[in-house]
Symmetry: C2
Subunit: 443 residues, 2 copies
């Protein structure tokens, strides 16, 4: 009988291995996609693209191997050659080719100049040809940063005793905000897609005390803006035994500190490539909702039009204000009006008009909504009645409170929004591999 | 201005901290849910449940604090007392209570005896009251193991240079297996839920070489069995520049080795609690599909009824055979017939009736399907035509091949099935927090 025993050493070197090991002067085998070819007559530069970057290889005229003359852009190749120091090449090395194996060939030349530093296309054209456009090294680097954020979130949550959960995305119609739900048929029964794991993560606080989830959420909102997606990845956590909603803010701050350190450590290449200015997360100012409104109304001489909500322009101005006054990239805006918060938000016992909740703004954009939740069964029922809501569909959620829940709170973070602000883009579609918006359902 | 600077030291100790630090003889504050109370007259044992286990606390008769007499099951409490050695208590310690704060109270007594070692309910009753049933420490431990598997998968993939991706779950109707798709309306357009990230992960091989995703998939299959869920979590990876589909098997084997080590290291409590027999992953036998069929037909004196597919009973017998012959918990079954594999599976050049693909069986159950994919554009078009399929809806997928793709392959793992077999359960619903099947849409 034959067995698989795991990974074996590969003869093919990764770019990372070439950089780490003293490879200059040795013969190596590497592989990649032929990203671009510059034919200079006597000599050809063949740039290979692999997962860890670009690598310059060189074909000298009069090379004996015929296969070298068959190398074309878009091919997948495995090549052998000697490593030379070359300051002007990426990573300071180049490989003088001795042999090659062509692993696959394209049918047609690339329809977009993916080898340009900045893609010479509109965002619309980029998204229409997304899987090709992402072969540009700057484009794909954005999603390495996104990976770092998501990974950092999970690693930090795990280190703090949170349990990862997977909650269902298809559910029976629930009472939570019916307007923005996508509807579907589930074996001849009406069902909806989850707009957040809110109920489930609260329910799981009664089981694991601290839980987190990273997964898709679905919003049938008819917004067509630079900030909205109809499907996005939500980073959620929920924790029990809190003393105040500030415990949630502290946890989020510490998580962001961890993420920024992880980006510095493991994603330095991409941070450099994209010229990312990592945000200041040492200390994050917090300000009450009504105070924030007053501050910017005064400073920027604006009228307060919607007293219960922040307009996007106000969020941007709050970001501007705290950046200029305190050098802050993030601001916690706290105590949102009860009118505009969901029923499960805990009211401030000192003033029932406001809740013990917050948003986190990052460079003027809301990336998080969170706060303390009601944990007392009777209080919850009363609040639901006050909001004029029906408990139908909420029985399982309410049961958890009936049988006892600890004081708790949590938050949800939009991964694409956080990524977008981190990489300095101004359209959330730039930070989503395959965006879904009101007009875009493919690719 | 006030700032949030991150986490501060908490006075409240976790069970883990009590175990790690030399706490016997000291006064400590801990918190948790009151899991059960045993009133012995002179003395009461109050068992607290927190995220890291059960903790025995003791109230002695004649205690001065009135609040101690108000402690009831289902409450969330924060208590203070002195730590004593007590061999018969969980973790070998107990706390003699001096004071308490009742943080929240339940409305009604627990409807299920969650403090029993094994829940005294049917699976059906358990699932109907899922969020309560999971408060049983054995029930919740299953999902700590699930976390370990998922976390191990990601950590290993990251260590091997795979990039995490998030692909859309709502899409335009695609050609891949239309029968089992959930349909929905997307702003007045027909759309479907993704039954796998197959197309997207292949497309992203052209960008990142190696990618992985952990996320929900949706199957509108009309199966009502112990092995099927209509929504489940899929662990997917896809890698470029492979020499053979065996590279995928090797990667999966190494991943499983990593996961088992992680479970031993970080989930030892749960492994012990559930009496889990961790599987043998040092070496995994592999056998051709037709050879496996022949082996068990011979050994168990069975007729081969469906020559192109494995029946569930056959999978179970293959598991049994390789367990008894080689002590193997896993078996790779390779070279599935082309007839039963999707169009993108690469045919074996030595015999076009079979594909360069495999399933991985774990204790007799298929938990993985994987293999090498066609990477050549013309070959792919030809195969699609041979299968009598239409390329409509596949344009973006096909474009990736038109412009060049490396040889590649990958796999998908059902997280719930893998968990179920790991914890020794025989119904996949036991390994899903909130299962979705043909009749169950809530909680």
């Amino acid at each position: 009988m034959e067995f698989v025993t795991g990974l074996e050493d590969r003869k093919v070197k990764t770019l990372e291995e070439l950089e780490r090991e003293e490879s200059v002067g040795t013969e190596v085998t590497v592989e990649g996609m032929v990203h671009s070819i510059r034919d200079m007559g006597e000599i050809s530069f063949v740039i290979l693209r692999s997962r860890d970057g670009l690598l310059q290889t060189v074909i000298q005229a009069g090379s004996e191997k015929e296969v070298l003359s068959e190398i074309r852009e878009g091919q997948a190749v495995r090549v052998t050659g000697t490593v030379f120091k070359e300051e002007r090449a990426p990573h300071g090395i180049e490989i003088h080719l001795a042999n090659a194996r062509i692993l696959s060939k394209p049918e047609e030349p690339m329809p977009i100049a993916i080898d340009k530093w900045k893609l010479p296309t509109s965002l619309e054209a980029n998204l229409n040809r997304r899987a090709i456009a992402l072969r540009n090294v700057r484009e794909r680097a954005k999603f390495r940063i996104q990976e770092g954020i998501c990974r950092g979130f999970r690693e930090f949550m795990t280190s703090q005793g949170f349990t990862e959960i997977h909650t269902p995305k298809i559910g029976a119609k629930s009472a939570e905000g019916g307007a923005n739900l996508f509807k579907l048929q589930y074996f001849h029964r009406p069902a909806v897609l989850a707009q957040s794991p809110q109920f489930y993560k609260q329910m799981m606080v009664g089981v694991f005390d601290r839980v987190f989830e990273t997964g898709p959420v679905f919003r049938a909102e008819k917004h067509n803006t630079k900030r909205h997606l109809n499907e996005y990845t939500s980073l959620d956590f929920e924790m029990g035994f809190i003393d105040s909603f500030m415990d949630i803010c502290k946890m989020e701050t510490a998580m962001l500190q961890y993420v920024v350190e992880l980006l510095k450590k493991d994603y330095a290449k991409e941070v450099t490539l994209l010229k990312i200015e990592l945000p200041n997360v040492e200390k994050i100012p917090f300000v009450r909702f009504d105070e924030a409104k007053r501050l910017i109304a005064e400073k920027y001489d604006r009228q307060i039009r919607s007293p219960h909500d922040l307009e996007p322009e106000e969020e941007a101005l709050i970001g501007e204000y705290f950046k200029s006054e305190y050098g802050a990239d993030f601001v916690f805006v706290t105590h949102y009006p009860s009118k505009k918060r969901p029923f499960y938000a805990m009211d401030d016992p000192e003033n029932k008009e406001f809740t013990l909740s917050f948003d986190l703004l990052f460079r003027g954009l809301e990336i998080t909504t969170g706060g303390q939740r009601i944990h007392d069964y009777e209080t919850l029922l009363k609040k639901i009645a006050e909001k004029g809501m029906d408990i139908e569909g909420m029985e399982d959620y309410l049961d958890c409170f009936k049988y006892g829940m600890p004081p708790h709170g949590g938050l949800g973070i939009g991964l694409e929004r956080l990524t977008m602000k981190m990489i300095g883009e101004d359209n959330v579609r730039e930070a989503c591999l395959f965006p879904r918006d009101m007009t875009r359902l493919k690719p």
